[in-house]
């Protein structure tokens, strides 16, 4: 396979990457009305398309792309002067079909030119997004944007692919690198300009914490269950921000009660693939072989593996598929012993924000970049993995 420009479809590029016109064009302005309008148009079309509306993640994306939201995101930067960096190259992942859009949007809003390499393994959602982008790119109004934003695909694990990657890296002003630790390291080995900025999203995992004491009322327990499912059901739980671990502030008994209760409310066949239960069994049995497991609850939609103590090494056996490693704890502080800087998002239920602020404040906590209420783990924000994407993807100009 050679290199494919998937959007804008009509774009004709030179055969050699370093000859592409995009490198020579001037960037757009920071926070340009045109970029905002473009995204609003994509949003409107997404909302109108019945095919898109079938996917919850596209509904969420469409909502996020609205003018009101993008202006809100940019508001914090109105006071100072920012300019685009130049050309940003994005290497995006396959596990979350919408991810490539979010980091690209941040870069578009700061005025950069962008080359986004999208995965050739992604599914229907990516296809829908690409089709919509192509539609909006074709409007005469957005010619400037269409010239400055390319979505490409190529087989990266070939000699030819490595050459493409090398050419893209050598001229980039910033690289957005999604991937596991190995992929990010491999990409960073490609030579780049001395001032090129790397924004790396490497291997992370996420956890949630639920205070069992707050679940006495049946309604509250139901709400907790619904929000928990909202965080772990999409993308087969393979997004980095989907919790894979549950710290349960409460007893083992209350844990099994809670999961016993929620199973009855879940339509187990609707959402799950034919392979899911077998994969859950493999994970549960593997974990049992390597650590002390107190109980396994596998009958329902969520497979719960209650470990005497959670260790990050156990994540090697986690392949998504609605599996939660659980550890019962007496206090929030107990969590600190099991986690490292690999922990990205901590979603919570039944715990006061104040207590969390205090908890995170401890110098010994080196991980956790996001703490959000349960149910919102997958909501993308321009603050991600500890980065503030808008300012990272722009040059701050000081005028005195």
């Amino acid at each position: 396979m050679t290199l494919n420009i998937v959007a804008p479809k009509s774009h004709v590029a030179a055969t050699v990457i370093s000859d592409w016109e995009i490198w020579t064009l001037t960037p757009m302005g920071f926070s340009s009305d045109k970029a905002i309008a473009f995204l609003q148009d994509v949003s409107t079309r997404m909302m109108r398309s019945s095919a898109c509306r079938e996917h919850a993640e596209l509904v969420a994306l469409a909502f996020w792309l609205r003018e009101a939201n993008t202006r809100h995101i940019l508001k914090a930067y109105n006071e100072s002067s920012y300019k685009a960096l130049g050309t940003v190259v994005h290497f995006t992942p396959a596990n979350v079909d919408t991810m490539f859009i979010y980091s690209w949007v941040c870069s578009l809003l700061t005025g950069n030119k962008n080359i986004v390499r999208v995965s050739s393994r992604s599914g229907a959602v990516q296809t829908l997004i690409v089709a919509l982008l192509n539609e909006v790119f074709s409007f005469g109004d957005y010619r400037d944007i269409a010239q400055r934003n390319l979505f490409i695909q190529y087989q990266h694990d070939t000699q030819e692919g490595a050459e493409y990657t090398a050419s893209l890296c050598i001229d980039a002003d910033a690289r957005v690198l999604w991937g596991g630790d190995n992929s990010v390291n491999a990409l960073r080995r490609f030579a780049c300009k001395p001032r090129c900025r790397d924004i790396s999203f490497a291997d992370r995992y996420s956890a949630c914490v639920i205070d069992a004491g707050t679940l006495v009322k049946e309604d509250t327990a139901k709400q907790a269950a619904a929000t928990l499912l909202k965080d772990i059901a999409p993308y087969e739980q393979q997004a980095c921000s989907s919790p894979r671990v549950l710290f349960w502030l409460g007893s083992r008994k209350s844990l099994s009660q809670f999961f016993g209760q929620i199973e009855s409310g879940v339509d187990r066949q609707a959402d799950s693939a034919i392979t899911t239960k077998n994969e859950q069994l493999i994970t549960a049995q593997s974990v049992q072989l390597v650590t002390e497991v107190n109980q396994v609850i596998i009958g329902g939609a969520i497979c719960v593996i209650e470990c005497a103590r959670f260790e990050e090494g156990l994540l090697d056996y986690h392949v998504g598929r609605q599996v939660l490693y659980c550890q019962c704890v007496d206090t929030l502080d107990e969590i600190a012993e099991s986690i490292s800087d690999r922990l990205q998002t901590l979603s919570y239920f039944g715990i006061a924000k104040q207590a969390l602020v205090k908890f995170i404040g401890q110098p010994s906590i080196t991980g956790i970049d996001r703490v959000v209420p349960l149910g919102r783990a997958l909501e993308f924000a321009p603050q991600w993995d500890g980065y503030e994407l808008i300012s990272q993807l722009a040059r701050r100009v000081v005028i005195e």
Partner: protein
């Protein structure tokens, strides 16, 4: 050390005529053996004992018997014997997956496997040792690590004499060997053995391509190894059989279902095209969404139970194969017990991790 209780019960089971017990009698005979295996592995396999630590003391029915996901044998080395007692380590072919399964055998388990295989196969091909044509290359046995392919051929060699290999080491037809085999044995019963996919591609298709045919009108072909690659080529069992008979004259073709993780207890296809469950094994079909046992005729994951292994805790395994029980005790071939069919495999599970943006170098 194998418990006496297990040993005695297993011998009793093996002494039965194969396929003579009906389903109810069968469970009565098999369950005590399986219970003894459960206790044996709890005692001798730390892994098994961890897996069943929250399980009650003893399964009361075959359905209650705990099962291990078959993939665990790819991820872990599971053993119920000391390292000194390891006789050989069997490796699954690993053709469809990259990591082969590892099955640890001691002498006694290995001997039990061979004996069981003989007992089962005799029911289909008779007690006499026959001239054997192996649809493979002789080099397959030379590899030091015992592959499932080599183990299968070694197992079948018990039934053969004057073994001839049909293929050269480069997997082309050894036409000289085939010609002399045919010349010597065309008028008498012979046994032909091979792996389903190789029989098709390296033997039948090769004969066809070279416009050759054989005449072994008293032969029987035994083959195994899965249909996946043939299904991709749109070759089903009837087509396979028809082509065998057309190109080789062999009238009897028996497929069997078995796996490296449970060598010995194989499920052989009868004259009606049904796979039969022998006395010393059982199968259950489980709903892939709940793992609950399914009714007969309903499709699900195949759980295989074998009374043989004492050296590794693999006597009850949930496979990734899909099948269904077609009936019990009433197959018109006359054999008692359950009979079933294999319909394919679970689709390959693709994990789309974050880690695929670049191959590591």
């Amino acid at each position: 050390m194998t418990s006496q209780a297990y040993q005695d019960r297993y011998e009793q089971l093996l002494a039965q005529d194969m396929y003579s017990l009906n389903t109810a009698e069968k469970e009565g005979a098999l369950l005590p053996v399986i219970q003894a295996l459960h206790q044996h592995h709890k005692l001798h396999s730390p892994a098994y004992s961890r897996l069943v630590q929250h399980y009650r003391d003893q399964p009361d029915t075959i359905e209650d018997v705990p099962f291990l996901a078959v993939r665990l044998f790819k991820l872990f080395s599971l053993s119920s014997i000391s390292d000194d007692d390891v006789f050989r380590v069997l490796q699954s072919s690993g053709t469809t997956s990259q990591t082969p399964a590892k099955v640890i055998l001691d002498r006694i388990t290995s001997a039990r496997q061979s004996k069981a295989l003989v007992k089962i196969m005799q029911n289909f091909i008779g007690k006499q040792r026959l001239p054997l044509l192996v649809i493979d290359a002789p080099s397959v046995l030379k590899n030091k690590a015992l592959s499932a392919r080599a183990a299968g051929i070694q197992g079948m060699a018990f039934f053969g004499r004057q073994t001839v290999y049909a293929l050269n080491d480069d997997m082309t037809l050894n036409t000289d060997a085939l010609n002399s085999f045919q010349k010597l044995y065309a008028d008498q019963p012979v046994l032909v053995f091979g792996f389903t996919f190789m029989v098709w591609t390296c033997f039948l298709e090769a004969l066809k391509a070279q416009k050759l045919s054989l005449s072994l009108p008293h032969g029987a072909l035994i083959h195994s190894g899965g249909w996946k690659k043939l299904t991709d080529k749109q070759v089903d069992n009837p087509t396979f059989k028809r082509e065998v008979t057309r190109l080789t004259g062999i009238p009897r073709v028996h497929n069997f279902y078995g796996m490296a993780e449970q060598v010995g207890t194989v499920f052989v296809e009868c004259e009606q095209g049904h796979l039969h469950v022998p006395e010393m094994a059982d199968i259950l079909i489980r709903d892939p969404y709940s793992l609950a046992v399914c009714e007969n005729k309903t499709q699900g994951l195949i759980q295989v139970i074998s009374s043989i292994p004492t050296s590794y805790p693999g006597f009850s395994l949930l496979t990734e194969d899909v099948g269904r029980v077609l009936g019990q005790d009433d197959c018109s071939c006359g054999r008692s017990g359950k009979y079933f069919e294999v319909l394919g495999r679970l689709p390959k599970t693709e994990v789309r991790g974050c880690s695929d943006t670049q191959v590591s170098v």
